[in-house]
Symmetry: C2
């Protein structure tokens, strides 16, 4: 049996590295012999010797064409700039979050054409709950319309349409996963408007002050990095029959308010940790976050076997187990 050839675009990033670790540990579809290529602008040190790391920028059209010729069996497309940056740098947002996906899909279509459909990769794309816009029902169901309120959300929604249509025509076998906000992100704060959701847990656990830029009554939808990697692996394994004709999915997660996040932190790490959180309103962050979804009823994803944490405390414990620096 030949190796399963896997490409992870954005493989040097936090979720990409979690995905890599899970693939190396568990294999895919019962097969442990994986031939994995990561593509990203940079990589953490000490990548496994068995993994091919290609350094580049997805906006390089030539690279997308080159990668397509390698005929990967599974392509995970995780590469994008984050919501805050796409909002402040309009041009960079569209150039990074939309066109590379188009160029890659077009290059895959060329591969598909030359062999009359014999090549058709599973294409797993990390979309986002930012494809939605308010006003919201109490819980967003699988039929709720996409009406993004940010450029990032618009870019993700458009990529979903591309993946849907390229799949419908048989050029790829695609699936878009609308990830919850990933929390607790390890490492440093990033430019995502959602960055504080992790910061208010991660920094206090490290004994560092954290800024809370929004009201503690803000409710949001979370899953851990471990769950994100699990979603991606699960998506790679699903049969096309199970997926059906509608190729974008809302995923499971935990709905909680910032106050409930903080209460979970108190339970896990004590009152001293909570004291390190300092409210300081940031209207720019508040404006973006106030337009985001708060709760979901992801019936279809649950039926398809996707699963996430069952409490925000569990999300914190996953972080401590996997990522928190040892104090």
């Amino acid at each position: 049996m030949t190796n399963i050839k896997i490409l992870i675009l954005g493989g040097g990033g936090m979720v990409g590295q979690k995905l890599l670790a899970q693939l190396l540990r568990d294999g895919l579809n019962g097969q442990s012999s994986l031939d994995i290529t990561l593509y990203d602008m940079a990589f953490p040190p000490n990548q496994p010797a068995s993994v091919t790391c290609v350094t580049g920028n997805i906006t390089t059209q030539f690279d997308m064409a080159q990668l397509a010729t390698q005929r990967f069996d599974v392509i995970f497309h995780l590469a994008s700039i984050v919501s805050g940056e796409a909002e402040t740098d309009f041009d960079k947002g569209w150039q990074t979050n939309l066109w590379p996906t188009w160029h890659l899909l077009e290059a895959l279509r060329v591969q598909s054409d030359v062999t009359a459909g014999a090549y058709r990769p599973r294409f797993v794309f990390t979309s986002s709950i930012a494809v939605f816009g308010g006003p919201y029902p109490e819980k967003i169901d699988d039929d709720f319309k996409c009406s993004p309120q940010t450029s990032y959300g618009a870019q993700k929604a458009i990529c979903e349409h591309l993946i849907q249509d390229f799949s419908r025509k048989g050029y790829i076998d695609g699936l878009s996963l609308r990830l919850p906000t990933i929390c607790v992100r390890p490492g440093k704060a990033n430019l995502a408007a959602s960055s504080f959701f992790s910061g208010i847990i991660r920094e206090p656990l490290a004994g560092i002050e954290a800024i809370l830029p929004v009201s503690d009554q803000v409710r949001h939808w979370h899953a851990s990095p471990r769950s994100a990697a699990g979603f991606l692996c699960h998506a790679a394994k699903l049969s096309e029959e199970a997926i059906g004709t509608h190729r974008a999915l809302n995923l499971p997660g935990i709905s909680c308010t910032v106050a409930e996040q903080i209460e979970a932190l108190r339970i896990v790490a004590g009152a001293d940790a909570v004291k390190l959180i300092t409210p300081k309103a940031d209207p720019a962050i508040d404006k973006i976050v106030s337009g985001w979804p708060r709760n979901f009823d992801p019936a279809r994803a649950l039926e398809l076997g996707f699963s996430a944490e069952s409490s925000f405390e569990e999300i914190i414990r996953v972080y401590i187990e996997e990522d928190a620096p040892r104090r």
Copy 2:
């Protein structure tokens, strides 16, 4: 007072010409002094001397940039290839129905930037009810999700997202109109999968046989070319406050079955006309059409003052009055 500068992309086409005639007859916003430019691949003979006709293909990026520098006050973007052709020629569909819109919007953004927002055209885009996919409720309301089942529908849905985001950021003042199927189209059958909806009325009225490729129980959503031009003019006049933040609209129309269309033809033109309709199933047409919407509750458009015909008979009479060749 200076002239209102108007651009009609696709101004040589059937709806473009109806729009032109209505603008020349009625003016816009109470002003009759209009400076109108049409852009299309070809034009009918005898265009009014006061109108500038520019021949070109919207896929020419240079032309889109050039047009943007002319700083039109109102841009009607009607240019696209039809659903049937976009389905059979995948590449041409995306190159024609998506990228020119992107290039034009980007060129308009450049104009907007150089004057710190002083230039911001009303941008009226002809989207389509093909942005929707089944299963459908009995009537599609303004909150029904977009899930296109054709490349044409995907291209229109993506253009809507672009127009929404460029408007949100203040580069244009856009509005996407999801036109019903335009019926009765004058002239010859075209490559649109919807072409027969007009053919079964137009050809019998001219004493010519017409093929019906689907069941007469197929229900669909129609408006006349006159209404289409009226929608576009009305969209150009609306205040931005009235439009609000959600810039794609379902429009009014007539929901009827093919059998009801035929009955209306019988009432208007007699049983002999109806005898000229010959059923001949076409599975390719049937597959596309069966995925289309059948009925709408366009509450928002009605509130905003859009209006269409009140019966299919009226649609036939509009055709006879405006377009039917004299026998």
